[in-house]
Amino acid sequence: MSADRLVIVDGDCDTAEIADYEATRRDAMRRGLIAGGAVLAAGTVPMLLRVSNAFAQSDGDVGIIEGAVAIEQEAVAAYDFAFKSGVLSEPITQAARLFRDQEQEHANALTAALEDLGGEAPEPPEPADVQGLTELRSEQDVLAFAIELENAGVMAYIDAMSTLQSPGLLKTGAQIMANEGQHLVVLRLAMGVSPAASVPSAFEAGTDGPPTT
């Protein structure tokens, strides 16, 4: 997917600052600027930048896990909104509910780990805080959005693998990342690709955008 699919509508953020951050698709994804073919509202960028900063600039496990909790909370909000949106077919509705519950399991586990480390979980976002989410109008919109959301999570966990110190957190992070990859498979299949194409790369890097079918 090319970076030009990421469209930012100017809001109450400084566009030049955003452009500086969004030099590459990878950077954009790491900051949670979810595209999915949707037009994004820049007004929510500050929260997402804060999430990304926890991953990118943290010098310890607490900051990394705080960022991971925020990402998982965002995923919970997104799947919950999608589940209740009324635009999904029955099978996709059930998948969205399952994935919401699994993202909640991730958030709960990471929150417990964070509290053990002396940290405090951020407040869960409202749907309106997740940029682009409330603008989704069709099942294809939701699927593409969810793929970008999962991609952002995968990228964040890859980064976390390099920086986390705790063996237990490394193991848990790998298990969660693998689950996000499984979500990606289901989402890609739902977009109509073949089973082979639902696993497009031997190394899941979170860089394969929604399939174009």
């Binding site: 193991k171 848990t172 298990q175």
Partner: protein, 197 residues
């Protein structure tokens, strides 16, 4: 399908599990050795390792990947249609994993000494047999990678291992879907070191 029937030769089975570190019998057992141990023991074993230990871990991973390459190669003739397409793609993925691991071993100054394990594939008679066997093999590999990640000494190696284990987990979802069972059964993909019996 009775998976145990596939691995009829107990000597080969012990060699496979030992070399892969799967059941902690012989071999380096570095790659996976956490089953049945206390958390303190796990934490102790999960201390960051040296490049030399990394080479052992990567060779054990390579053995699993080479075994997976053979398994998908042996199973492919029993697959049809879209499932065959997936099997061929997964075979290519395992080959890519093996090549990357070999390169990483060389980059660390080591030698790729791993060899594929000799399994008995004669019990594979149907597409369903192949799907179930592949699912079990993938789960063994997932368990091994998840346990190995904290033991690898460098961030880039851990990141690459996480990308591989996520790919294996994705294979599992496709295999489960093809078997007609839930494709994402757990929020935490831990694999199963004893999936092959």
């Amino acid at each position: 399908m009775d998976v145990a029937c596939i691995i009829r030769d107990p000597i080969s089975r012990r060699r496979f599990f030992g070399r892969a570190g799967v059941t902690f019998v012989g071999g380096s057992a570095v790659f996976l050795s956490a089953c049945g141990e206390s958390q303190d023991q796990k934490d102790e074993e999960n201390e960051p390792s040296s490049p030399e230990a990394d080479i052992d871990i990567l060779n054990d991973a390579l053995a699993l990947e080479l075994t997976a390459v053979e398994a998908y190669t042996k199973g492919a003739p029993l697959l049809t249609g879209a499932v065959l397409g997936a099997g061929e793609a997964f075979l290519a993925h395992e080959e890519e994993h093996a090549a990357a691991l070999e390169q990483a071993i060389v980059d660390l100054g080591g030698k790729a000494t791993a060899v594929k394990q000799e399994l008995d594939y004669s019990a594979l008679q149907t597409q369903e047999d192949v799907l179930e066997f592949a699912n079990n093999l993938e789960n063994v590999a997932i368990s091994a990678y998840v346990d190995s990640i904290p033991k690898l000494s460098s961030g880039p190696l851990r990141a690459t291992a996480a990308q591989i284990v996520t790919n294996e987990a994705e294979h599992v979802s496709v295999l489960l879907a093809a078997l007609g069972v839930p494709a994402v059964p757990s929020a935490f993909v831990a694999g199963n070191p004893e999936a092959l019996g």
